[in-house]
């Protein structure tokens, strides 16, 4: 495919989600939580309620806009946590080597062995449902791939001239890691984080389905979809629109990640999966 197709479409979809989230207060017609009138519950899409209303009589369109805020928060914050943990561990392990490397490797293997959904489920069970718990759960779950990538990228950078030169010029280890290594491994890490945002949004939906997601009144797409799954027959719009929102947002993140990778890392080092 032509260079940048993924990047453009992915970027556009992601930008759409970001705009929807940022501009929700202005774009939304109603308050996502308080404008609930049971008298106007389950209305099909019309001029007032563009995407119809849900069982509580809330405007699905407005809720999807606000839901973008939640999904973005979930995606971004969890990936920031993942990335920080993964990069800190992976980079330092590769740089220092020795027992620390063995330890980090062991830990990574452990994390890889526990399926992420199950680990998130366990963490959510401990912390209880809710946004903060979800951020922590997803933030703690998926750092192992980032860690592996940070580690292998650092390993290959470590023997490069400019890193060795920095050592001979008297840079301290942390300085080398921050100024010489980190900027140069950010590419693949960023790709992972972007792809991770998509899976975080999906995980949120899956956890919602299992009763452990973010729960109302926050209008998260996952919980909207979960709530609506029984209404497919009587009020299909309540399920279709959040479903599409998830699909397109995740598609956007995935395409953006693919596009970034095509750009930064043409040899697919980033994602063996």
């Amino acid at each position: 495919m032509k260079l940048g197709f993924n990047l453009i479409l992915g970027g556009a979809l992601t930008a759409l989600v970001i705009l929807a989230g940022l501009l929700a207060p202005w774009l939304a017609h109603f308050d996502p939580v308080l404008d609930a009138d049971l008298m106007s519950a389950e209305l099909p899409p019309d001029a007032t309620y563009w995407f119809g209303t849900d069982a509580q009589g809330r405007d699905v369109y407005s809720r999807i806009l606000y839901g973008a805020q939640i999904s973005l928060t979930v995606g971004i914050v969890s990936q920031i946590i993942n990335t920080i943990i993964g990069v800190a561990l992976g980079m330092s392990a590769a740089y220092w080597g020795g027992w620390w490397d063995d330890l980090v490797n062991g830990l990574t293997n452990v994390m890889l062995a526990i399926p992420s959904l199950i680990f998130a489920l366990a963490v959510m069970a401990v912390l209880g449902p809710g946004l903060v718990s979800l951020l922590i759960a997803l933030g703690l779950t998926n750092w192992s791939w980032t860690c592996r990538i940070a580690r292998s990228s650092t390993l290959s950078l470590k023997s490069l001239g400019y890193v060795q030169a920095a050592q001979t010029l008297g840079y301290s280890d942390p300085r080398i890691m921050f100024t010489q290594i980190l900027p140069n491994i950010m590419g693949p890490v960023l790709v992972m984080a972007t792809l991770g945002m998509g899976s975080a949004v999906l995980s949120e939906a899956a956890l919602s389905f299992l009763g452990l997601g973010i729960q109302p009144p926050f209008p998260s797409w996952g919980s909207m979809l979960t709530d609506a799954r029984q209404m497919i027959q009587i009020a299909p719009w309540t399920a279709i629109f959040p479903g599409m929102a998830i699909f397109f947002a995740v598609l956007g993140f995935n395409l953006l990640g693919d596009g970034l990778r095509d750009m930064l890392d043409p040899h697919m080092r980033t994602r063996k999966l």
């Binding site: 939580v33 308080l34 404008d35 609930a36 009138d37 049971l38 008298m39 519950a41 069982a55 509580q56 009589g57 069970a125 209880g128 449902p129 809710g130 009763g211 452990l212 729960q215 109302p216 009144p217 709530d227 799954r229 029984q230 209404m231 497919i232 027959q233 009587i234």
Partner: protein, 509 residues
């Protein structure tokens, strides 16, 4: 119409995706009752037509003057699936097994009404002194206090097991009982199969050859399966109830019953504002309960006018529910000094009918009178803990309020522990007086009257927001006959009465 013999009935167990154990003594959960209903029998059974427990395994019962000693003349035609005939020994054996502290069975609290169970449980005695075998077919039970033993001894956790099974561990995998169906096969997490018991004591029953009790907790999946005619009955949630009512093909085959659960939001007096009766009443006035019941719960419930449900003998038809009246609510709040409102948190599980969605619905309503509600979502399993450890500001729950009204009202007795069921730490000396009087009253009408007064007192005090009484709805395929409107739990059906007619799909006939 003459019941047709034979056929396979595909029943669904909708409340969880697995049976914990087939040893019904060990599990208090509704899910296991679906099996018990087919395989086991207890001393008493629930008569759904008269809403009262009746003796099941005894042909007649003699009651002593003081109401403490009951003599049961056991039926002679009852046989266990392993061929053993029912004798008094089996009952004594079963109750001892249930009361055995080593087992820590949940049914222990039910058999605790029998005299001598305390000593037995404490290890002071080898036997339960209240259980006396007169002869093989006669059993005398002495109770610790004059209660109606039927409510306790009809439970699935007090089912009667045969006393001649060597290895008790096999009850968990290959149960043996007195019921109309014999355990055939269990595919854990999927289904349980039972087959007709030829020696069942009721003549001509059961009609069915085979019952598949299929595990299906996911509502939407169950919906598809039912419409696809893969299952014969389905318990409906509100959304589906509405959908089925609108569907010509389905609307005629719905079985509805008012169950004995009261959905409510319990207020914790720990919260300053909620300690004020006027505030609690204001909340009751501020919420448009009928609207929520109609629109959100899709009429799959009856607005609650008090603690005791409609089917309860002590239900007061004349007591008006709290009217929806936001102005009154504001007034009450002003009186109480909360005209600027306050905030409280409602601990809620994800349940569709009595969980977070309901909190979401009351949220804008209360906001209009200045009260800010914050849902605090928890898992179902954590809800019980939060409530019983008094770790909440308010909670939304569905509590069993029947069939025994005395037991239901006991929850507001100030001597009942908060953790036991006085979750709102309710304490009103006036109520205590009424409750104690009712407890000691032997005349059923007078007792009912006292309980009604107590119930109305609670309604007035509004320790909870009275939301609704559950209406259970079961959809069934047109070829299914013999379903019973069981107010305790609609999903529990008398399999022995059910039969299917010729219009059933061929592979199930």
């Amino acid at each position: 119409e003459e019941p047709r013999q034979g056929g396979t009935f595909n029943f669904t167990a909708p409340y969880g995706s697995s049976f914990a154990t087939l040893d019904t003594h060990a599990s208090p959960n509704i899910q296991e009752e679906f099996i018990t209903q087919a395989i086991h029998r207890s001393l008493y059974a629930w008569d759904s037509n008269n809403n009262a427990p009746v003796p099941e395994l005894a042909t007649s019962v003699d009651e002593s003057e003081d109401g403490l000693v009951y003599t049961y003349h056991l039926r002679k035609d009852a046989k266990f699936h392993n061929g053993k005939a029912l004798t008094a020994d089996d009952i004594i054996y079963s109750y001892k097994r249930i009361a055995d502290p080593k087992n820590a069975f949940p049914g222990a609290s039910y058999v605790a009404i029998i005299k001598g169970v305390d000593d037995f449980a404490a290890g002071k005695s080898e036997d339960i002194s209240g259980l006396k075998k007169v002869d093989d077919n006669t059993l005398e039970i002495t109770f610790a206090s004059p209660v109606n033993p039927g409510f306790s001894l009809m439970q699935n956790t007090t089912a009667i097991y045969p006393s001649n099974v060597e290895d008790e561990a096999t009850f968990a995998t290959a149960p043996v009982g007195l019921g109309p169906f014999v355990f055939k096969e269990h595919i854990p997490g999927s289904q349980l199969v039972v087959e007709k018991f030829g020696d069942f004591y009721e003549e001509g029953k059961p009609y069915l050859d085979r019952v598949n009790i299929i595990l299906m907790s996911e509502d939407s999946a169950r919906d598809v399966a039912f419409r696809n005619k893969e299952i014969d009955v389905s318990v409906l949630g509100p959304t589906q109830y509405q959908a089925y009512q609108q569907d010509d093909a389905l609307k005629d085959n719905l079985l509805e019953v008012a169950e004995v659960f009261t959905r409510n939001i319990g207020f914790n007096p720990k919260v300053e504002a909620l300690r004020d009766k006027r505030v609690r009443q204001a909340i009751n006035h501020a919420i448009n309960t009928p609207l929520i019941v109609e629109r959100l719960v899709k009429n799959k419930a009856y607005p609650a006018s008090g603690w005791l449900p409609i089917s309860s003998p002590a239900f007061d038809k004349d007591k008006a529910p709290y009217a929806f009246d936001p102005d009154k609510a504001k007034e009450l709040l002003k009186e109480a000094g909360y005209e600027n409102g306050f905030t409280f948190e409602v601990t809620a599980s994800p349940n569709e009918s009595w969980g977070v969605p309901i909190v979401e619905a009351i949220l804008p309503m209360l906001q209009k009178v200045g009260i800010t509600v914050k849902p605090k979502p928890v898992e179902s399993s954590a809800l019980g803990e939060a409530v019983t450890t008094n770790n909440f500001e308010a909670f939304i729950w569905s509590n069993q309020t029947g069939p025994d009204p005395l037991a239901a009202m006991r929850c507001y007795w100030s001597k009942t522990a908060q953790s036991a069921c006085n979750y709102t730490s309710y304490s009103n000396p006036e109520f205590d007086k009424l409750y104690e009087a009712a407890r000691d009253e032997r005349d059923p009408t007078r007792q009912t009257d006292l309980l009604r007064q107590a119930n109305n007192l609670v309604q007035d005090d509004a320790p909870v927001w009275f939301f609704n009484y559950n209406k259970a709805v079961m959809a069934y395929q047109p070829w299914v006959h013999g379903l019973a409107p069981n107010a305790n739990e609609l999903a529990l059906q008398p399999y022995e009465d059910i039969w299917i007619d010729d219009s059933a799909p061929d592979n199930r006939k």
